[in-house]
């Protein structure tokens, strides 16, 4: 019983933690694409900044991932 609840909790912890960053990375990627389409000559710098922004957003999902293993 308890093991089952822990398994459900693990699934929920990671699943819920992935919602926000998923939306966030989508926004970052979409906006970067818009910017690159508007100014192709800036594509290199936009891409660099995009990866940095994605990395910061992704950190939240990773904390959920760690929690899954800690539970």
């Amino acid at each position: 019983m308890e093991a089952g609840l822990i398994a459900i909790g693990k699934g929920l912890a990671y699943g819920l933690a992935a919602i926000g960053p998923g939306v966030g990375i989508g926004i970052v990627g979409g906006k970067a694409l818009e910017a690159m389409a508007r100014q192709p000559e800036m594509a290199g710098r936009i891409q660099t900044t995009m990866f940095i922004a994605i990395a910061f957003t992704e950190a939240l999902a990773l904390l959920g991932f760690v929690l899954t293993f800690l539970l």
């Binding site: 710098r45 660099t48 990866f51 990395a55 950190a59 990773l62 904390l63 991932f65 760690v66």
Partner: protein
């Protein structure tokens, strides 16, 4: 016999295969906890180190010979050529441009060796981890924590030497808050200082380590699960299984997905090496220019 009955057994085998074990006894019962054991991941890390240093030393020697010849006046050999030379030169130039773009033209070149080592070591190790039976240093939390710790030490050291201890600590508070009235400065400033302190000194290295580990571990698990599906549903590998068109079809679909995921993992190997390098560069940049914001 239902192939799905064998799945839990295969998953257990997979998790055991990915565990940190002593290198000379891969089927040791328990994962390793002690720090001073040569594990399978350490051995594969050393192999990655040997591979990448050999490549670079070979190319560097070739360039040195070409330069020596060029000084004698033979202009035809001025430019070192060859696929390997071109590939590694492009890689080094990529890292150099990254360092100059992110850190700045003045301080950037100093950190090219560090960033280059991170990038090429992680990339080689990730690629070796994609060979069946191979391990990537990113596949275990110990390896990534070690890399993140080096990155952390460097950016904290740079912050302290560039700004002094108090200068670096003060730079954690935004300059706008520092000009506010005294009460707001103490209340808001203290709060922001706490937040920034935790995010700079704890969350940064933690996410650096966990990001690499999580991406690679998840990739290995996915590849392993698809391989297990292929092995389970193709009846030649399991004698007791009856051959059926449906079983073979499921196996074939799993095999196609395995190939697609494998290609995706090659892409992830590049992206994660790049993200680790660029984040280290960004953190160093924020330490170098700490007093400006």
């Amino acid at each position: 016999m239902n192939p799905m009955e064998l799945l839990p057994e295969k998953i257990a085998e997979l998790v055991h295969e990915l565990a940190v074990l002593p290198f000379d006894n891969m089927h040791y019962e328990h994962p390793v906890v002690s720090a001073f054991v040569l594990t399978n991941y350490v051995v594969w890390g050393i192999i990655a180190l040997i591979v990448i240093s050999t490549l670079f030393i070979l190319v560097a020697n070739k360039e040195k010979r070409a330069l020596a010849l060029a000084e004698t006046g033979d202009v035809t050999v001025l430019a070192p050529s060859g696929r390997l030379v071109g590939m590694l030169e492009a890689g080094v130039e990529f890292i150099r441009n990254l360092a100059i773009d992110v850190i700045g033209a003045k301080d950037g070149p100093r950190f090219v060796p560090l960033l280059g080592t991170f990038f090429f070591l992680i990339l080689t190790s990730n690629m070796l981890g994609l060979i069946p039976g191979g391990k990537s240093i990113g596949g275990t939390i110990g390896g990534t924590v070690a890399l993140a710790l080096i990155s952390w030490l460097v950016f904290v050291w740079v912050g302290f030497t560039k700004n002094g201890f108090f200068g670096y600590m003060k730079s954690l508070i935004p300059s706008g808050v520092r000009e506010m009235p005294l009460a707001a400065r103490i209340g808001l400033g203290g709060f922001i200082f706490l937040l920034e302190f935790v995010s700079t000194f704890i969350v940064r290295p933690l996410t650096l380590a966990v990001r690499l580990f999580a991406n690679l571990y998840a990739g290995h698990i996915i590849l392993g699960v698809f391989s297990a599906f292929v092995l389970l549903f193709i009846p030649i590998t399991v004698e007791k299984l009856q051959a059926s068109v449906g079983g073979v079809a499921v196996g074939a679909v799993a095999f196609v997905f395995l190939l697609i995921m494998y290609a995706f993992e090659v892409f992830v190997a590049f992206i994660q090496a790049y993200v680790f390098t660029i984040l280290t560069a960004v953190y160093i940049q924020s330490s170098v220019h700490a007093s400006e914001h």
